[in-house]
């Protein structure tokens, strides 16, 4: 009896196609939902069943925290599909894992005790990791964990779209991702069905973007063992009998931090600091809602990048131009203390910081959904980063 039911499970699972969208909480929530919903509508156009849903345990969603949205498509009745896939927090594996912000390839940790997980964790044998990025699949692979079976990394060329919540910045990323998906896995959703559904659900003007996504996607096969050894271990949740009476959680020791939840995977940008131009006003330390700045004996402040979520408040309040600048997270390899590097070799650190900051600065509008603008500034002259 047990054997038969396992066999039935396998048959059923083979028919179900799973797609997940890894997105940045709130910033990209509307985008992720649009992608999954449109995909399901297109599947219905092909007379298949499907539904889309957000991962329950991501709620309450927070700005920047890695979250997931899912679409499930199958050739079976709605009742059967719901019984198979409806009551799960997330699928065991997915055919395509879409990543709408490429900094998430460094790993995702949505909550405490989840551990920092590889972005391709759920990609199944022969499946695809589809990333919206300006980088190539091989560049991204430098951050991605190795798997013991072959799969693909595909890239839809483009900047991550922080499309916002109430105000939706429509840069057509949704249609381009769907176009790419139709090219990678025509079994999940065909281009013809999408051409019918996209004008109605996402807007008639998006047809070109859909075709562009289909054409421009770069697909690279990844062999078993390609990628990095994953440096993070996955913690095990305490069992119910290991809890202390009254669900007591041990407090943080004085001077310490919450060791069980370092949350740097929330970050897309990190603050880079020029300690030599710092005027020791303490404002960055005062304004940090994540308590990341550590006072040093000489009045400067070290940053603990393990806890920094990259909100940019320090860069905003810093009164000295180009002293704290937010820089793309993928340009960095580790979370080492910048102050120690500075103390080791001041000149080398300043040169390194300058090179990371580059010449371009991002101009942040107040409402995220109205779009980020990159502009050139002369160093130490004009607007701060």
């Amino acid at each position: 009896m047990g054997k038969i039911s396992t066999l039935l499970d396998e048959v059923a699972e083979a028919d179900i196609k799973n797609v997940e969208v890894n997105y940045r909480g709130i910033f990209q929530k509307t985008l992720a939902r649009k992608i999954c919903k449109t995909l399901v509508y297109a599947a219905k156009e092909e007379e298949r069943t499907g539904f889309s849903y957000g991962r329950y345990s991501d709620a309450p969603e927070r700005n920047g925290v890695p979250c997931k949205y899912f679409a499930v498509v199958a050739e079976m009745s709605e009742e059967d599909l719901e019984a198979e896939a409806g009551a799960k927090i997330e699928p065991n594996d997915v055919n395509v894992s879409i990543v709408v912000d490429d900094t998430m390839v460094k790993g995702v940790e949505p909550w405490g005790f989840s551990g920092i997980r590889p972005i391709n964790e759920k990609v199944k044998l022969g499946g695809t990791l589809l990333v919206v990025s300006e980088r190539s699949p091989l560049e991204l692979l430098k951050n991605v964990a190795k798997k013991d079976f072959p799969y693909k990394i595909a890239v839809v060329p483009g900047k991550h779209s922080f499309s916002g919540l109430w105000v939706y910045k429509d840069d057509f990323t949704d249609a381009r991702v769907l176009g790419a998906l139709a090219r990678i896995e025509p079994d999940i959703v065909g281009l013809e069905a999408l051409r019918k559904v996209v004008p109605e659900k996402l807007g008639a003007e998006k047809i070109d973007a859909l075709n562009d996504g289909y054409k421009s996607v770069i697909i690279k096969s990844i062999a078993p063992g390609e990628g990095i050894d994953w440096p993070y271990s996955i913690p095990t949740l305490p069992k119910w009998h290991e809890f202390k009476e009254g669900i007591v959680v041990k407090s943080v020791a004085r001077g310490g931090r919450n060791e069980d939840y370092k949350r740097f995977t929330t970050r897309t940008m990190r603050p880079v600091i020029r300690f030599d131009t710092c005027i020791k006003c303490d404002l960055c330390w005062y304004a940090c809602p994540d308590e990341c700045f550590d006072p040093t004996p000489d009045g400067l402040f070290d940053v603990n990048y393990n806890y920094c979520v990259g909100c940019g408040r320090c860069a905003e309040v810093c009164p000295v131009p180009n002293t704290i600048v937010m820089v793309d997270e993928l340009k960095f390899e580790n979370n080492d203390s910048p102050y120690h590097e500075y103390k080791k070799d001041k000149e080398a650190y300043i040169e390194w910081a300058d090179q990371k900051m580059g010449e371009k600065r991002v101009n942040y509008p107040f409402v995220t959904g109205t779009g980020l603008i990159e502009e050139n500034v002369k160093k130490n002259d004009g607007e701060k980063g």
């Binding site: 919540l165 919450n258 308590e291 905003e316």
Partner: protein, 327 residues
């Protein structure tokens, strides 16, 4: 010997205690201002403090799966139980001290609640806590929505704002048609026993909140602080501008900053005239993106009236024996 509690006024950012009692590693949004309220009140109150948190963002975010960023003891209590938890804790400490079970010393009791937990559901519990003579402080951290459960409107949501309960539509533009409650003023007017009441913004003016917390804790009885917390999630603005939004709320006069110390009211920040137009504050938030000029004018007129027509500007809307109720 336990550490002594310091109630000295903090003069300047350089004098702010460096030690954190609310540490890194909490699942709050990027740029969260309510996390700043937690950080600042615990800095001001120091290690001899018991914190009590009702359900809301600052409960769920700070107990993410059996982990905590708190250094001081903290306890979760129900959504509407901020006042009762503060009262019970404070009474318990007094009883233990009277019976000689624990040494006589000052221990700060601080309960915090969000705007749904404090200003809507928990209002009666707060009211009864403020009627006693127990030494306690209740902090209402107000981000103008139930942001923890995905941004529903509350009694504190600004008129016209978009929330998941009040989405803008093609037929009806404004769904949030209620005006924000005046909680601090209401509690001050109705609770003769309350020793200290204040409103504050964590980022503006700097250090103001820390000193108000210290004043409240040394007031010798029940105290209440209402903070306005710009919320990058529900207000839909870039997290780096939390400080700026707080500053604009004060400068535009939409959120008056005052304290009522043993019955004497005083504006702690008087927005210089001409006040910054409220539009400058509202247009920087995605939740007001659907407002038209007439809506901005309406909000401006209500804010102006608060400063020009009220008996005590920004605090008490009474004049000549009648309570003003604007349309």
């Amino acid at each position: 010997m336990a550490e002594e509690i310091v109630f000295e006024k903090i003069k300047g950012i350089h004098k702010v205690p460096r030690e954190e009692f609310y540490s890194s590693g909490h699942r709050t949004c990027e740029g969260c201002e309510s996390a700043m309220v937690m950080r600042m009140f615990s800095k001001a109150s120091g290690p001899r403090t018991i914190a009590l948190g009702t359900t809301g963002c600052m409960y769920v975010a700070n107990t993410a799966y059996m982990t905590t960023p708190w250094v001081i003891p903290w306890m979760h209590t129900q959504l509407g139980a901020g006042g009762s938890a503060a009262l019970g804790t404070s009474a318990g400490l007094r009883a233990l001290m009277k019976k000689g079970k624990i040494p006589e010393e000052k221990i700060n009791t601080i309960a915090f609640c969000g705007d749904l937990g404090g200003a809507d559901m928990g209002l009666s519990a707060i009211s009864s806590a403020l009627q006693t003579d127990y030494d306690l402080l209740i902090i209402l951290y107000d981000n103008e929505s139930a942001a923890n459960t995905d941004i529903q409107a509350t009694g504190m949501t600004t008129w016209g704002a978009q929330t998941t309960f009040t989405p803008t539509g093609k037929v009806k533009r404004i769904m949030q048609t209620r005006w924000k409650k005046n909680v601090a003023g209401m509690l001050a007017a109705g609770h003769p026993n309350v020793k200290y009441i204040a409103t504050a913004i964590a980022s503006f003016p700097p250090i103001d909140l820390l000193n108000k917390v210290r004043k409240a804790l040394s007031a010798g009885g029940p105290a209440f602080i209402h903070t306005l917390d710009p919320c990058p999630k529900g207000w839909d603005y870039h997290p780096r501008y939390s400080d700026k939004l707080g500053e604009l709320a004060a400068r535009s006069g939409i959120f008056p900053l005052y304290e009522i110390d043993h019955g004497t009211a005083k504006l702690t920040y008087n927005p210089p005239k001409p006040r910054v137009p409220v539009k400058e504050y509202l247009e920087k938030q995605g939740r007001f993106a659907h407002l038209k000029d007439e809506d901005f004018q309406y909000i401006q007129q209500r804010v102006d009236s608060m400063w020009e027509d009220w008996e005590i500007p920004g605090i008490i809307p009474v004049r000549n024996g009648t309570i003003r109720s604007e349309k």
